[in-house]
Amino acid sequence: MKIELGEWPVAGNAVDGTGVELAIEARGLVKRFDGFTAVDGVDISVPKGAIYGILGPNGAGKTTTLRMLLGIIDPDAGYRRVLGHERPTEVARRIGYLPEERGLYPAMKAYEAIGFLAALRGVPLKEGRRRGRELLEEHGLGYAADRQIRQMSKGMAQTVQLLGTLVHKPDLVVLDEPFSGLDALNQGKLERMIRALAAGGTTVIFSTHVIAHAERLCDRIAIIAGGKVPFAGPVDLARDRLRPQVRLETRAQDGPWRAALPADVRHEGAFWYFTLPETGVEPLLRALIEGDAGILSLSIERAGLHDAFVAIAGEAAARALEESEGEAR
């Protein structure tokens, strides 16, 4: 397997162009399986302490990308630097990972399972078990600490595994589709947990095919489709790819003022919808007032992440994303 190493200036933590310290930097990651290119030149920069989402439909290459970042598999080309190390396995103790396919040993008790996951990451078993009990107590599962995993509901077992991902107090938490399989209540809990982690300085990177989660939680996202990343950056920047949308309600339905509306205008019910013109809203307002259109309401809305996703990744990817969401439901 040939790994093409690009230029990499200095050892230690990576820094992006604006001087922000990066927890993860990957450039040109490529992974092929049996002639199929699963990931094709992915670039990702995750600032320290950020909540970073990898957004894409099933089969887009999210899991493979995360696995490469974790060192579970090696890329065929490209380089990665995780917490300042080119070999992610060297910093495994500082990383917490929740894979998409959750799994624990069914015969283990909840606190033992957390202790075992802690021991894997270098925490002494006894200490890991103690922390396990503590975490279970904190998250309202203290009563089930001595219950075997096989005796727990899926949601409880999932929480136990998530606690096992965090028990060693990692600097970087990687979550692969963390919301899948959780009910609305537990999804809310998880969102709060992710925000708390980031507030405490932990970097969180998670993959999802649900736009709402990415939109609510993430500082930055990478949109991935067909193994490629057409966009990576702040969520606002993704939205700014589209001009804001204007919704206008007028008393008059017709008149010379209509000539002032942009060409992409569409009329639905009592409302006019169109993209905010490059010249801004003031010339338009002036024309409407002078033309006696009778403005009842006017709102300017930034584009949603869904629209941005469609604009960036294309209609096909957006359809695939919707199908993925449908499958998950």
Binding site: M1, R67, A92, E101, G103, F116
Partner: protein, 409 residues
């Protein structure tokens, strides 16, 4: 930090988990009573071994009479050969004694270069037979018969044979050591065979529980493999301790009726130590190989299908080593010593028969080297072929056979 110490730490975390999971499971009792079944197989293998033994152990009588008497005795043996039930022992001329000259039969029996089981001296009228008590009892009539036939074509009188008993002979020691070697090989085979199935299916549990990815992200894959091997080794030691105690009690209770075992060439304190080390190596070699193969299997059904060729492979290694035992110094023996998976069997047999210790140091290093090579290669293969897709829907029809199918397209 993925240095040796860290890998060892990770391996021990896995080993501890696996050991506790196996030993404290309800089914562990079946593991403990399991040897009762292979003992039957062992008995059958022992019978096959006994046939090989008959070929290895060709008892030889050395002649130390006058040249003329030796010649006549050899002729008489030729004449009788094939006419007596059970066949006749080989007979060679050790020395042509001059009249009145005494031949030192005891020295001849302890001479490693000659390897005769008994010595016939004296004259045709008054032959002497020097041998161990059991051999003397077995051959005294034969010697009298041969001497009578050597004296006259149609004998009417049979001379008395003067018997001189010795405690042992080089040939007897050698025969005993071959028994010891063979017994040790059978024991080694049984112990490693018991564990093969467990090792083969070891990673299936992780795949079934879907915990494999968590393990792969947290620790080096070769540490995972080593941990699993260590755990099974520790489990087997628990088994050996239980079985050893049981066998020890049987031996103590019925020691009068049990045949005494010949001292191995390297000596008693060292032989069991080497036996343990070679067991560990045989297990680690076979285990790492089977773990690598089993790691490719996605389901219990695939493991079951794989267990047949795996058992056959183990049997082949065992029979190859047993065969090599009958051909000391030949290329076959060297091959069995060098081939990593048969090396522990061959070297344990060698320990029973050859007193040199240094070859064992070399052999153990050689075997340990191959354990590391196989574990690393297996871990790499596992990483490259198993951890290669996302959710289960992409892998549901995967596994070792799917990979073969893909290759065939």
């Amino acid at each position: 930090m993925t240095g040796f110490a860290e890998k060892l730490r990770c391996a021990l975390v896995i080993a501890r988990r696996d050991f506790v999971a196996v030993v404290f499971s309800k089914t562990f009792i079946f593991f403990l009573i399991g040897p009762a079944f292979p003992l039957v197989v062992g008995g059958l293998a022992g019978n096959i071994g006994a046939k090989v033994q008959q070929n290895v152990e060709r008892p030889t009588i050395g002649l130390a009479m006058s040249a003329e008497d030796n010649k006549r005795m050899l002729a008489a043996r030729e004449e009788l050969d094939g006419r007596m039930a059970g066949g006749l022992p080989d007979m060679i001329e050790l020395a042509a004694a001059a009249p009145g000259e005494a031949f030192d039969a005891r020295s001849a029996l302890s001479d490693g270069n000659r390897e005769v089981t008994a010595v016939v001296g004296g004259t045709l009228d008054a032959p002497t037979l020097t041998a161990t008590a059991d051999r003397a009892r077995q051959w005294v009539g034969l010697v009298s018969n041969l001497a009578a036939r050597a004296r006259a074509e149609a004998p009417t009188a049979y001379p008395d044979v003067q018997v001189e008993e010795v405690n042992t002979s080089i040939a007897k020691v050698r025969t005993g050591q071959i028994y010891t070697a063979q017994g040790a090989q059978v024991l080694l085979f049984l112990l490693t065979m018991l564990l093969a199935g467990m090792v083969l299916s070891n990673l299936v549990e992780e795949k079934g529980n879907k915990i494999i990815e968590v393990l792969a992200a947290a620790i080096p894959m070769d540490a995972l493999f080593m941990g699993k091997l260590f755990a099974m080794l520790a489990v087997s030691l628990v088994g050996i301790a239980v079985w050893g105690t049981a066998i020890g009690m049987i031996v103590l209770a019925g020691s009068e009726s049990l045949p005494s075992m010949s001292a191995p060439a390297v000596g008693w304190p060292l032989f069991p130590i080497l036996g343990f080390l070679y067991f560990a190596m045989a297990y680690l070699l076979m285990g790492s190989l089977f773990l690598s193969i089993g790691g490719m299997a996605a389901t219990v059904r695939e493991v079951q299908t794989l267990s047949m060729p795996v058992s056959m492979f183990q049997l082949m290694v065992f029979f190859f080593s047993s065969y090599a035992l009958t051909m000391p110094g030949s290329w076959v023996e060297w091959l069995s010593v060098i081939f990593p998976v048969s090396s522990p069997y061959a070297m344990l047999a060698r320990a029973a028969q050859q007193p040199e210790v240094w070859p064992h140091v070399l052999a153990l290093l050689w075997q340990a080297f191959w354990v590391v090579v196989i574990v690393r290669a297996g871990a790499q293969l596992f990483r490259r072929t198993v951890m290669k897709s996302g959710p289960a829907r992409g892998r549901a029809k995967g596994g070792v056979f799917a990979r073969f199918r893909r290759k065939a397209y």
